[in-house]
Subunit: 242 residues, 2 copies
DNA sequence: AAGTGGTCTAGACCACGGC
DNA sequence: CCGTGGTCTAGACCACTTC
């Protein structure tokens, strides 16, 4: 019944313990397979009860950072490969050791396209920003992306910035929007003549089409993107469960 | 300090409480938005401590079955739409209101294909079962699937059964294998003449190619499937997070 | 046997929500 | 104000793994 020793916003004790261990793992001081201090050890040195120390380790387990084995201990989990993870184009490229580049082909403000507005849960005649970019990896054309979003809600778009920063970053920094998830519809289509030329493939070549709606943390659709990828340079990885 | 009142395998108290509430939800007795009994209420009627009742509700929350709100209570969560879920062909079809059919084009035992054996973590010269099926929906050709698995581990394959039961079911019933997840690599290719004929599309038409490795619950790869789908009749839905 | 995680108790105080 | 979930205590016994 003490409940003292806190800065006012009262970070729970189990959170502090959890963060401390998480920091050790993220800094590399604890590597995959290393044993993590036991419940009893943590309880003693942090001056908390067993249940509280246990809570901290349980949360780390739920986050996938540690594995717990009855009778033997708690261990740093092997780094997870993130499947079905939402990443920006540049993150995607750099994780494969490629240099990402983007060329803005078109940037128009004020487009009206009913079907796309509908997908973004906007009024049918809403003004949209339409941004068309050619994605390149190591200087080679890779994909063609056309992205739409509300011109009213997001008026500050500057072409120059988009050449360097991702749209992703722009939305986060300029508008404080945190993206949470994206729904993608994937199929195969034949490249039309314009796409073929830009992607440098024969007209009619099969390309991967991805139509994506990106949602913010509060569940609102923010952008709609139609993308065509050269199939020889891009394939999609999906993990399905259960 | 009692710890009595148990059948021998000792189902933990929090699990019993959890199962009981889960049953109420699954049977429809509790519907989305309904309030679930409080920690204190459950503790009293189940004769357990608050921490134990709390544990039960916490697990239900982690399973996504309930939402908890401090100060107001615990509520049945709205039913979740399962994204990136592993389902059989027939489940996939019936969820769209279509009738699934399968025609076995080929069933060969004893194939040796080094690259595929490698993907299944088998010795390079392992004997494989190769099963080729034409998938149809409402009588229309839909996709072409070639599936491989170890002939040594799974010798009991009967053509007749595969026309009706899914491979999925066969593995589960005959070998007690529970599938856990699948990794899929998706791209777009042009239909070769055989695929074009079977799928009734022009030669060279873009088709969606999915190469899938299916894993059992213990993380072992069980089957490798190469599938081609008519793009006009099938598109893949993926949800990506974060 | 010693140490670990898993379950559990019988309380407590707190912050928050709705009345 | 009262009921709710969130955090926490100072213990306990059990099942399991390692030595």
């Amino acid at each position: 019944m003490k409940m003292l020793t806190k800065t006012h916003p009262t970070v729970p004790a189990y959170r502090r313990i959890q963060s401390e261990i998480q920091a050790l793992i993220e800094s590399g001081e604890l590597k995959a397979g290393d044993t993590v201090r036991s419940e009893r050890g943590l309880a003693r040195t942090h001056g908390v009860s067993l249940m509280t120390a246990r809570h901290a380790l349980r949360e780390l387990e739920l986050d996938g950072l540690v594995e717990r084995h009855r009778g033997s201990g708690t261990f740093v989990a092997p780094p997870k490969i993130h499947f079905n993870k939402l990443v920006s184009f540049s993150e995607q490229m750099s994780s494969r050791g490629l240099v990402a580049q983007s060329r803005v082909l078109n940037l128009r403000v004020g487009e009206r396209e009913h079907d796309i507005a509908a997908r973004l849960a906007l009024a049918a005649d809403s003004r949209l920003v339409k941004l068309e970019r050619l994605r390149q990896a190591n200087g080679q054309p890779f994909g063609l992306e056309v992205c739409y979003f509300s011109a009213e809600q997001f008026p500050r778009v500057r072409r120059a910035r988009l050449e360097r920063r991702s749209l992703f970053t722009m939305f986060e920094q300029e508008y404080g929007i945190a993206f949470a998830y994206a729904d993608e519809e994937v199929d195969a289509v034949a490249a039309d003549s314009r796409a073929a030329e830009l992607l440098q493939v024969p007209k009619g070549a099969p390309v991967l089409r991805i139509r994506q709606v990106l949602y913010s943390a509060d569940g609102k659709p923010i952008t709609y993107t139609l993308a065509l990828y050269r199939s020889d340079r891009h394939s999609l990885l999906v993990r399905r469960f259960r």
